[in-house]
């Protein structure tokens, strides 16, 4: 395994705001990474920095061992699909797919044609006239068919329906199996992609909160549910990630539990349930406590 992306102490400031704040991480070759976080957390800025579209205020970036800024040798191996991609005025989808192979050496036209059929994308309609979902489909098709060794998807499927999203996940996994490459996917639909991800990066307010293997992350938190007294006693000496309460009941999210912990919880009559990746991200990047009155559901 070798690092495709290496960032150290990466910082990007815009005036008073620090969009990316002293982030260091590396991305291993041929893995699917999830880049998760709330709106405005700095995901897009981070991806713009990694693809040479934006300029770091401080810190260093290495993509395929080199600085990506204005480096065509690096960039031709990179494909960056973003939700807000702008297209030339009067362009039709067919112009995009005609020109893509000139820029992406690994472009697979047959695969692109298949995806165009899958997404039912009209090729001869002006891009300004397309629906939001069809616009997203263009990006998704370019991102998949370009087969760039390093592909970024930034919120690639705004407006895509559930069927189209499933097609995207299926084709991505399928093609990733045949042509392994490094994929960095930023999304809000965490539950939908959680089985896809091999590694997870979570950022909030420009800071990197989590940089962990998806598998170990899935078991890293547990929700303990039971009577308030029982739960309080159980979690007394633990770090609490999140707490919900309804009347005499409490639901508290804590970190990783050992088998002994689990046995003890069972003895105390407490219920344990795994925390999904989405819940974990919500707990880590949202508010930490909610106490709700009886009539409200937690």
């Amino acid at each position: 395994m070798s690092a495709v992306v290496e960032a150290s102490h990466l910082t990007r400031r815009f005036g008073d705001t620090t969009a990316v704040d002293d982030i260091s991480f590396s991305v291993q070759k041929n893995t699917i990474h999830g880049l998760l976080g709330r709106n405005g957390a700095g995901k897009t800025t981070l991806m713009q920095l990694l693809t040479g579209q934006d300029f770091a205020t401080r810190g260093e970036i290495r993509v395929f061992g080199e600085n990506p800024v204005e480096n065509s040798g690096v960039l031709k191996n990179v494909c960056f699909i973003k939700e807000s991609q702008r297209y030339p005025d009067e362009f039709k989808p067919r112009h995009v797919f005609t020109s893509a192979p000139w820029f992406f050496p690994n472009w697979d036209a047959a695969f692109a044609d298949r995806l165009i059929a899958d997404f039912r994308l009209p090729l001869n309609r002006r891009i300004k006239k397309l629906s939001r979902g069809q616009l997203s489909a263009i990006g998704v098709i370019v991102g998949l068919a370009s087969r760039a060794p390093l592909t970024f998807f930034d919120e690639p499927y705004l407006g895509l329906d559930a069927v189209a999203r499933q097609i995207f996940y299926d084709r991505l996994l399928e093609d990733y199996g045949d042509h392994p490459r490094t994929v960095i996917l930023s999304t809000h639909l965490i539950d939908e992609v959680s089985n896809l991800l091999e590694h997870v990066l979570v950022i909030d307010e420009g800071k990197l909160l989590i940089d962990e293997d998806a598998e170990s992350l899935r078991g890293s938190a547990t929700t303990v549910v039971g009577t308030r007294q029982g739960v309080d006693a159980f979690v007394a000496d633990r770090e609490v990630l999140h707490r919900d309460g309804i009347g005499g009941l409490a639901s508290v999210t804590v970190g990783r539990l050992s088998p002994q912990d689990r046995a003890r919880a069972a003895e105390m009559g407490l219920e344990l349930s795994p925390v999904s990746l989405q819940q974990l991200v919500v707990r880590l990047t949202g508010s930490t406590q909610t106490e709700t009155a009886l009539e409200q559901s937690a």
Binding site: S72, K76, R86, E90, F91, T98, R147, L150, G177, D178
Partner: protein
């Protein structure tokens, strides 16, 4: 993933050999939508030409006295009808940076390759369109103004009826280049500094203009300015436009080198 055979990993390709290919790819990208780049300008030109032709015909039909006709022909030779086509090129220059630049960066093009490819595109298109105008001007002169004494292509500003084809081609070419590069350079300022850049640009241009007028007025130099235009003639002025064109081409490059496309 363990059941899937990993047959063909997408390995990063080595650098070097194809820097020129990336620049040519940008040229092709600019030209991929042939309708906007080739059909629309000639359609605009055709429309203007038909309107002019109609006006010439009206004049030709209603003015029968020979000396009055000569006067009318003289007036028509100052035709500015071609100006519209150059404005369209200014718009194409702006769009190249405003729309195609963010798109090209999405296709992993460097700013350097984008600007060089765009410059090559502008030069190529200028040459093609200038050749077309030169041919039309030759036809216009040969047919004595399309049989109606009209002037659109061989106008006073582009050497008049007596200019050689080479001179005419050069004048068209320089004019096209000016509008493409100035349009593109203005758009780079927007890409780099957004609205503040536009305000600063036009604010500065306004101040420079006023300062220039003040300078010329206070030093009573208007006759000298007039003499300069008179001495250079339209052809000379167009030749001088190569200076701002070159400045636009060079500053546009350096402005774009640090620009980040936003939505």
């Amino acid at each position: 993933m363990s059941t899937v055979t990993r047959t063909a990993p997408t390995e990063p390709l080595a650098d070097g050999h194809d820097a020129g290919n990336r620049i040519l790819a940008v040229v092709r990208l600019h030209l991929v939508n042939r309708y906007s780049v080739f059909a629309v300008p000639w359609m605009i030109m055709g429309g203007i030409f038909i309107v002019n032709l109609t006006i010439w015909w009206i004049i030709f039909a209603s003015v029968t006295n020979e000396s009055d006709r000569a006067d009318a022909r003289d007036g028509i030779s100052y035709s500015g009808a071609l100006f519209y086509i150059f404005v369209y090129m200014l718009v194409l220059g702006i769009q190249a940076v405003a729309y195609t630049f963010p798109f090209a960066l999405g296709f992993s093009v460097t700013r350097r390759d984008f600007w060089l490819g765009s410059a090559l595109t502008f030069i190529t298109l200028s040459a093609v369109y200038s050749a077309g105008l030169t041919i039309l001007a030759a036809i216009e002169v040969a047919t004595d103004g399309w049989g109606l004494g009209g002037t659109m292509f061989a106008s006073f500003y582009f050497g008049g009826a007596d200019a050689s084809w080479l001179e005419r081609f050069g004048l068209y070419f320089a004019t096209y280049l000016f509008f493409y590069f100035v349009g593109a350079a203005i758009a780079t300022i927007y890409q780099r500094w957004r609205n503040n850049g536009m305000l600063a640009l036009f604010g500065t241009l306004g101040l420079v203009l006023i300062a220039g007028i003040a300078l010329v007025s206070f030093t009573s130099s208007w006759p000298a300015v007039g003499a300069w235009f008179d001495a250079n003639g339209p052809s000379g002025v167009i030749a001088w436009s190569l200076a701002p064109t070159a400045i636009a081409a060079i500053t546009g490059y350096f402005i774009l080198r640090r620009a980040t496309p936003k939505n």
